[in-house]
Amino acid sequence: MGRKKRSTPEINAGSMADIAFLLLIFFLVTTTMDVDKGLMVKLAPWTDEPPPEDNKIKEKNIFVVLVNSNDQLLVEDDYLSIDQLREAAKDFIDNNGDGSCPECNGIRSLASSDNPQKAIISLQNDRGTSYQMFVKVRNEILGAYSELRNDLSERKYGKAFITLNDEDRSEIVSVYPQFISEAEPVSIGK
């Protein structure tokens, strides 16, 4: 009897769960499963020589979007608000002026782009343009492309663009390739 008393008593493991819970809650709170998301852009390689003067791109195939330092838009010489930009860009890309794009639904205006392969969107901003506005404009242009691709995917395959396999997807991308140019900013007035 005396011997038994001298030995150390067993440690109570009942509070183990509480301790583990405490740690668990700490890690639950501090965990940030932040997946970084963003607008992907491919920049043009750096060249020292100035761009060639006689570029062969026709004026009507370029959709010029200007943003001034007050975050106002000038699209193809028209004042537009940001919520009109997406439709304007879609009309331009989908115009199909020379009729070489059977998938397009455009109005085939002679003053707008020949076909989506030739359509280029040129985004120019002032040095004073806010980053927020720039991202909004960029987002609308990307949105115009993804809406066109999605529409075509629905018509052709009956399902959304993101659910397509790689082969079908690249086929749609070849109908509506993305040509967005980000010009170096100039001071285009306040």
Binding site: L24, L28, D36, K37, L39, M40, V41, I82
Partner: protein, 161 residues
């Protein structure tokens, strides 16, 4: 005596909680492994713009982050937006060497997938961002991503604040 014994056998036995610590530990290890502690302390104020058309950056090890915004400590660094490279504020001239150094760290086969994620504050002017873009072009870091937060709908972006 016999009566009491009968009563006891009818009762449902209590649920054993002996395995509870094991379950909790399992969860604990899961969160410990997935937790990523913030690796840099932000020296600039950063409120990312919202967008709807973003793509996920899936390879963190191939991505380098560049932060831009007004310094949190204006007495020390002024109130003009600055560029943060890793743990210190840098200038436009530091970017090329920073990006090239970061690219050297990843193995050669995966270098074409090297991406620079620009985490800029909504109030930064495009002049600074354009300077940054020019430097990235010179450093041949052509894949970039404008880091954004998700917006619920495009209409949310049309509102002016």
């Amino acid at each position: 005596m016999a009566l009491i014994r009968k009563k006891k056998s009818k009762e449902t036995p209590p649920v054993s909680t002996a395995s509870l610590p094991d379950i909790v530990f399992m969860l604990l290890f899961f969160f410990m492994v997935t937790t990523t502690m913030r690796e840099v302390t932000l020296l600039v104020r950063l409120k990312k713009p919202k967008a709807t058309e973003m793509q996920k950056l899936d390879r963190k090890d191939l991505t380098t982050y560049i932060y831009m915004g007004a310094p949190k400590n204006p007495e020390l660094y002024g109130s003009e937006p600055r560029i943060q490279l890793d743990d210190q504020l840098g200038s436009i001239g530091d970017i090329q060497s920073f990006v090239i150094l970061k690219r050297e760290e990843i193995n050669e086969a995966e270098r074409p997938k090297f991406t620079v994620s620009i985490k800029a504050d909504i109030d930064v002017k495009m002049g600074l961002i354009s300077d940054l873009k020019q430097e990235l072009r010179k450093a041949q870091a052509l894949k970039i991503s404008y880091s954004t937060n998700p917006a619920a709908s495009p209409e949310e972006l049309y509102k002016t604040y």
